[in-house]
Symmetry: C2
Subunit: 198 residues, 2 copies
DNA sequence: CCTACCGATCGGTAGG
DNA sequence: CCTACCGATCGGTAGG
């Protein structure tokens, strides 16, 4: 009987992807050689190329897997029956929680997405835009006047993303603040901070 | 008479540094070859090495020049005779203004500082810490209770830096918001947003 | 013995 | 699933 794809093909791809995320995050995309990645995975470089046709496909997979997980988590956390502030808090918490479980992938997304060819970047940026759009709506719900002023709503939303995406640069698990406390702080800064903005 | 160092030695170094900042920002540090940089400067690679002993010295100079300019500008903008809110606004404005005149250098600082050897990173991180410290003090002045709570003051300050350092990712000169308006918005978000935080 | 500058090429390593 | 290679390009340096 002809051999078909190995049963564990997908699992092995996932293992490679996770190791790649770690090395891309630690050393940078350009500085991680395919040979070093293969060695770290305990396989030959030729076998690595059996699972991934080229290096950029691997980078794409790392970021795409991360972003689709992010979109899913945030979508599930988006509960419109909550009060506007609690709804926004739930979104922020789900984002920070997803980041904490995918710290390597998050750093790769932030630092290496630009190394992808333009067309591959676009589908990933679409997912980023979906995330931004969901946060936009939740912020708008906390403040009707702000929600009606798209020209101000966008910079406010990007300010929140700046806070959250910058988080990994300084936040330490062992610090004085828990992730939950920071989520609460970020929510309060955005809602109270924009209350009298317009 | 014996020849000494050319009069325009320093100017030529500056020109090389600025071109390097542009290419490092556009293409990434690792993807900018010394040969391509020399070519863009209209000089030979050997002459490029006459001005800079190696590639990492060039990267260091780009970031160090930017950060020392930043520290200087922000120091001059720090006017303690202003009201606390106006003082913070002045700091934010000077930072965004410096960023706008050194967009390439800013992007290199954010994306490529990690490629420097550890010891060279430290002196640059010292300058970053000096900046953070100045903002910390200004934020503390806007809110006595916050100023007395260092454990909360630090995350608030890092939130502001997240907003400002993320700015280049989405802000466009032609957008609906001017840089001055965004500075005002950032100041308000931080001051109003932290008013009832503790 | 200095600085300024060139064409050619070094030893290693990249992705494939 | 491997070793053996490739075309190209890297950062850096030679002699003059």
């Amino acid at each position: 009987m002809a051999r078909t794809q190995a049963d564990d093909y997908t699992e092995k791809r996932v293992a490679i992807r996770q190791k790649a995320a770690q090395m891309f995050a630690d050393e940078g995309f350009d500085r991680t050689s395919m040979a070093a990645l293969a060695s770290a995975c305990g396989i030959s470089k030729a076998l690595l190329y059996h699972y991934y046709n080229d290096k950029s496909e691997l980078l794409y997979d790392v970021i795409a897997g991360h972003l689709s997980e992010l979109c899913l988590d945030v979508e599930q956390a988006d509960d419109e029956t909550l009060s506007p502030n609690d709804r926004l808090l739930s979104l922020i918490l789900s984002l920070l929680d997803a980041y904490s479980h995918a710290d390597n992938e998050h750093r790769v997304q932030i630092n290496a997405l630009k190394f992808l060819p333009a067309d591959k970047q676009e589908s990933l940026k679409d997912m980023e835009r979906e995330l931004v759009h969901r946060f936009c709506n939740a912020i708008a719900a906390t403040n009707p006047k702000l929600g009606a002023n798209k020209a101000i709503l966008m910079p406010v939303t990007m300010s929140l993303f700046g806070m959250l995406n910058w988080h990994y640069m300084w936040f330490r698990q062992s610090g004085v603040l828990t992730r939950e406390q920071y989520a609460q702080m970020a929510m309060t800064i955005i809602t109270d901070g924009t209350e009298n903005l317009i």
